[in-house]
């Protein structure tokens, strides 16, 4: 065998050895990756089954509380604004009552009609009308033709009137304060619609 042939054989031996070694190392790297990936997958599974439920509970508690507190802030802010509107409305109603505007006098008349219709009856001899002192003379002028005896009493109300039968069995609350209180639930909704339309929803 010539030295060239021997040299060629040596090269072939080393070429095959290197190829085999590379293959062994490549396979080992692949196996190592597979082992790590498998561990990661199992860890994920363990985490999901053990920690995730606790995380979910934490999220519900912490974020849930923040959202509910935030919503409460929005509701409080809206209530504050609606209350401002009601306070302003009371100012306006006080001015209407003090100035004896046409709208206010009409309101007094309607209140009186309704009150007498509700409180009077065959078994009612006398009714007492409680009104603001400044309204008493106007009301006196309106009850001239009343079918029942009427007594007028002054009361520290803004306006309108509260009417009671003398025996106390029937009462009608038609003061501005009473009407505001009675209408508040409906008015709150309408006012909120007016104020917050297009602003935002909690």
């Amino acid at each position: 065998m010539s030295s060239d042939q021997i040299e060629a054989l040596k090269e072939e031996i080393w070429r095959r050895a290197r190829e085999r070694a590379d293959q062994i190392l490549r396979e080992a790297e692949a196996e190592a990756s597979r082992i790590i990936e498998e561990a990661r997958r199992r860890i994920e599974e363990m985490t999901r089954s053990r920690i995730e439920p606790e995380k979910l509970l934490l999220r519900r508690r912490i974020i849930g509380r923040a959202i509910s507190e935030g919503r409460r802030m929005i509701i409080m802010a809206k209530n504050e604004v609606v209350e401002r509107a009601f306070e302003k409305a009371i100012e306006k109603l006080r001015k209407e009552a003090e100035s004896k505007s046409e709208a206010y006098v009409n309101f007094l008349r309607k209140s009186l009609e309704r009150a007498l219709e509700y409180v009077s009856g065959p078994d009612i001899d006398e009714v007492v009308i409680y009104a603001n002192e400044s309204d008493l003379s106007i009301i006196a002028g309106m009850i001239k033709d009343a079918q029942v005896n009427v007594r007028l009493e002054k009361s520290p109300i803004i306006g309108g009137m509260n009417v009671l039968s003398v025996d106390g069995r029937k009462s009608y609350y038609g003061s501005i304060e009473s009407r505001l209180e009675a209408l508040k639930p409906i008015l709150r909704e309408r006012v909120a619609n007016l104020l917050f339309r297009g602003v935002e929803v909690a």
Binding site: A28, A103, V199
Partner: protein, 101 residues
């Protein structure tokens, strides 16, 4: 050069491959150790507690961001223009006096 030197070369090449096999075993063994370490850390209660604590801290930050957004929205609501309040007050006064409701 002779057949003997070829045999020697063959032996060296085999040792080279054996060395690769040894290194391959090391690689696989290192991966197994690493995988076991990862699994141990996951199974470790302290690590779980730490992870939950860190998660809770992140949630608290998120909660604070949510609250800030709500605070800003609440302030925007409170800053509603006076004209609108006036309009609402007129509506209330009108309904109280009108007896339509």
């Amino acid at each position: 050069m002779s057949i003997a030197s070829l045999l020697l070369e063959e032996k060296k090449a085999m040792m080279y491959v054996e060395e690769a096999r040894r290194r391959a075993q090391e690689i696989i063994q290192r991966a197994r150790v690493e995988a076991e370490k990862m699994m141990r850390e996951t199974a470790d209660e302290e690590a779980a507690r730490r992870e939950l604590w860190e998660y809770a801290e992140r949630l608290k930050e998120e909660a604070e961001r949510i609250m800030s957004e709500y605070r800003a929205r609440a302030e925007k609501i409170k800053a509603i223009p006076d004209e609108l309040i006036e309009k609402a007050a007129n509506l209330i006064a009108k309904e109280v006096l009108s007896y339509e409701l």
